[in-house]
Amino acid sequence: MSFGGVRMSVETETPAVTAKEKPKPRPRRKLTLVQRLKRDKVMILLAAPGLLYFLVFHYLPMLGNIVAFQDYQPYLGFLDSDWIGLENFTDAFADPRFWSAVTNTLVIALVQLVFFFPAPIALALLLNSVLSSKIRRFVQSVVYLPHFIGWVIIVSIFQQLLGAAGLLPNVLDAIGLPRYDMMTDPDAFPWLVTLQLVWKDMGWGTIIFLAALLSIDPQLYEAAAVDGASRWRRLWHVTLPGITPIIILLLILNLGNILSVGFEQLILQRDNVGAAAGEVLDTYVYFNGIQNGEWGPSAAIGIVKAIFGTALILGANKLAHFFGHEGIYRGADK
């Protein structure tokens, strides 16, 4: 796989080596660091802006988390703000709105896990069972589309469909039922955001499962059919085991994200249902921190959230290993 350019060109100067011959152990000429830098300078220079970007916009902000331990005042800056130890953390935990946000986040995440997560799997199985590639392609190109629509547009569309003067209340009205506005019903909020997520990403989510389904050896199906397995038994014994690793991988990744349910989607709709039902951790951090200037406590919550997320990923991965699956690392080192 390696394009060891220079090394290759040095070797090809000895033309005696033919393709059939076993490659001899390379006479590795050790290059000094300066020589190697000289050899690679173009490649390093090309990668340098990217490195700079990741350092500045992904690693440097981590230092900014020190405001979680400060009474941060923007006019004083990082260096002159007072250090107050863990006070921000205790303040944040003492705020009932924080716990309400945690509860809302977990409820929404749970509803999405149960009702959104399986949806792409089901659609992928359905698409996979369609033999005509024309129909399959058509449905695929339709259902991938909403993924590329921004949340502002999606919420606008749902407002027209389900909102007070929208389609659903009018239909209910027409068949003699009371008008119902789902967009402003606090009790329905977790269901509403899950429904929107299904509309947006159910199709897109199938891509990874369809790829996994395609990689199942067709001979397995044939052998199972010859042995008398019905279509449902083939689904159970061939198809599902074939996509289990990818399902587990995505479940683990999902668990890691359980504390960050879609920020854009929720911030757009929080005020429709009120903070009591619509506030999640991310919107709480935004309103409390950036709008109200509570920098310290909000950054503290951000840190707690990141630690929990990482712990959940590692824990879920351990669990997957425990049950004999490869979990996340397979995806990482390939």
């Binding site: 796989m1 390696s2 394009f3 060891g4 220079v6 060109s9 660091l33 190697r36 050899r39 173009v42 490649m43 390093i44 220079l45 990668a47 990217g50 490195l51 990741f54 500045v56 916009f57 690693y59 902000p61 981590m62 900014g64 369609v130 033999l131 005509s132 129909i135 058509f138 449905v139 339709v142 259902v143 991938y144 589309l145 590329f148 629509i149 921004g150 949340w151 502002v152 547009i153 407002q159 027209q160 003067a165 929208g166 790829a211 395609l214 067709p218 199906y221 059919a225 279509r231 920020f263 854009e264 911030i267 951090v285 950036i290 920098w295 909000s298 951000g302 990141a306 990482t310 390939k334």
Partner: protein
Amino acid sequence: MKGSTVALTSKRPAWMERPTWYGLSLKGLALGFIVLAVLYPFVSVVATSLSTDREIVANGGLVIWPTDPTLDAYRVIFAGGDVTRALVNSLFVASIGTVASVCATVMMAYGLSRRGVTGGRFILMIALFSMLFGAGIIPNFLLVKELGLYNTFAALILPGLISAFNFIVLRSFFMGLPSELLDSAKVDGAGDLRILLRIVLPLSKAPIAVVSLFYAVGYWNAFFNALLYLDDTEKWTLPLILRLYVLQGQPMAQGEAFAGDVPPPQLAIQMAVVVVALVPILLVYPFLQRFFTKGVLSGAIKG
């Protein structure tokens, strides 16, 4: 039904049992419902934006097929007000951002595509680890402020300049290019930069196109960064304007266009703004979807 039965079963392997009619119709119904549920809102938004007041009232909201289509709503939003300005801003950010992102991503992906580059492993790890944890909203916001990017278009571009996912897609594509080709160019005396420009780029048109479109759509839709970093309404992009007029229901000034005339209904204007935000995506989507249905990205996603 007969036609679709034939089509649905066209390439059935010999060992597979004949599909039952109820199975086929259930599948057809399910797929038909899903396709309709995805397409209906689009059709209805476009139709409503073209409708007159009378029609919207008659339909009690969204219209499916305007009998008397009118472009009045578009005339209002293109009269040079907020929407026009936001459209220009959005186009500007999306085009500059896409060019910057694609250049940075291609350079980085190529720079790290060869094994054994001094420091390459380290840079790669830096990039990949950033996917595992984010710094959080507050530190990112403070960073943008400290860098003096607050209330500039750069704040919409720089914080998301390189997506680790797009970087991985391009890097794995570059690594999959036949090494003989690159080596022979090297033997012929081409430098690394020349190889990138003359050999790698021409061979990578498809993945670079996909990545560009991903970036463009991302910039076009970006709401979070715009909300965080743009204070000045003059600089607002389309998603912010959309939220103001459609979600928060702020009535739009009619301007001079309809003095004395019957102004178009607010709902039609709102839907026209939605359509303006949708059109660029619908225009690029046909180019995008070819790649997904053919599974160009599936290799990258798996690895």
